[in-house]
């Protein structure tokens, strides 16, 4: 597990770095495939099978193929190169490292990792800041067991995700929020039913409208104008 994680983590980071320093667009695409494919593997390792498969199918098999297709259609020479001046790269590298340092240093310290309990179930063990954070935010988002997403399912999150997209959340028990805002809301409109956890019906449906609109837009730009064809 940890060896696999290490392998794919390094592969995805290395792939990302090589995307940045590659000069040829298709090589960039190749390294991007390596990076994003490894990210999909990390998803599998994090028990997110469905997300990992979606990443492979949509991102690597769809979006990246589309990008490479775009490269082929717009290549002016046999191998399209992009020159980036060394100075620019150096500046970008320094700024990037500084930002990376900022992100890392702002991340809470301590660790959260998976361990086995007596029954052989994996549980999340948190130490340091993460434990403090978990204790602080837990009351508002109580979930069946210790608050983290259920681990007994071994990555079989398909059904809960399906329920969530329908708007039902069997993975989260009904909770009475102890926060002020939650109380108020429920008091204000009891007819709205228990809002135990967000159900994602609306985003799921509205994303389809979005995709439709976007598809029309892309098709409009890509298609040739009929009238100009007739004129010529």
């Amino acid at each position: 597990m940890s060896a696999l994680f290490l392998f794919f983590a390094i592969a995805s980071c290395l792939g990302a770095v090589l995307v940045v320093i590659s000069q040829s667009v298709v090589r960039m695409a190749f390294w991007l495939v390596v990076s994003l494919g490894s990210v999909a593997a990390l998803f599998f390792l994090a028990d997110a099978d469905f997300v990992g498969a979606a990443q492979l199918l949509i991102y690597v098999g769809g979006t990246l193929v589309l990008l490479v297709f775009g490269v082929m259609l717009t290549a002016s020479g046999p191998y399209m190169k992009i020159e980036t001046s060394p100075g620019e790269t150096a500046i970008a590298g320094v700024v990037g490292s500084l930002f990376l340092f900022m992100v890392i240093s702002s991340t809470p310290s301590g660790s959260a990792q998976l361990t086995l309990d007596e029954d052989g179930h994996t549980v999340v063990k948190r130490t340091g800041d993460w434990e403090a954070i978990h204790d602080a935010v837990k009351p508002a988002t109580s979930t069946p067991d210790d608050g983290s997403f259920d681990d007994k399912s071994d990555g079989n999150t398909l059904r809960p995700i399906g329920w969530a997209l329908l708007g039902l959340r069997p993975d989260r028990v009904d909770i009475t929020r102890e926060t002020e805002a939650g109380k108020k809301k429920e008091a204000a409109d009891p007819a709205s039913g228990p809002t135990a956890a967000p159900g994602y019906l609306l985003p799921f449906e509205i994303a389809s409208v979005h995709l439709l609109v976007v598809l029309i837009g892309a098709a409009y730009l890509a298609r040739a104008k009929r009238r100009s064809d007739e004129a010529s």
Binding site: C13, V51, F99, G147
Partner: protein, 101 residues
Amino acid sequence: MATLNAYLLVGAVLFVCGVICMATKRNGIGVLMGVELVLNGANVNFVAFSKFTSLGLDGQVFSLFIIVLAAAEAAVALAIALNFYNNHLTIDVDRGNKLKG
């Protein structure tokens, strides 16, 4: 080994590489690849938080939406890039210099 912070580190590296890629590449499609890296940095974060913190399933659902929306965005971006290429015969972003003020 596979701790939350290790995942977050991967996410941060992807994010920073993506930002550098967006900043340095001249090629429109190269910039889009940087964008994909940035989005994946966020995706790794979401999945990791979903696993290790009380975010739970919401993280996974969020990352699914990201994947779908990123695909839509890439399709549009590619159509625009092809349109740019048809007009300019290049995809070099800096070569477009009609718009200066």
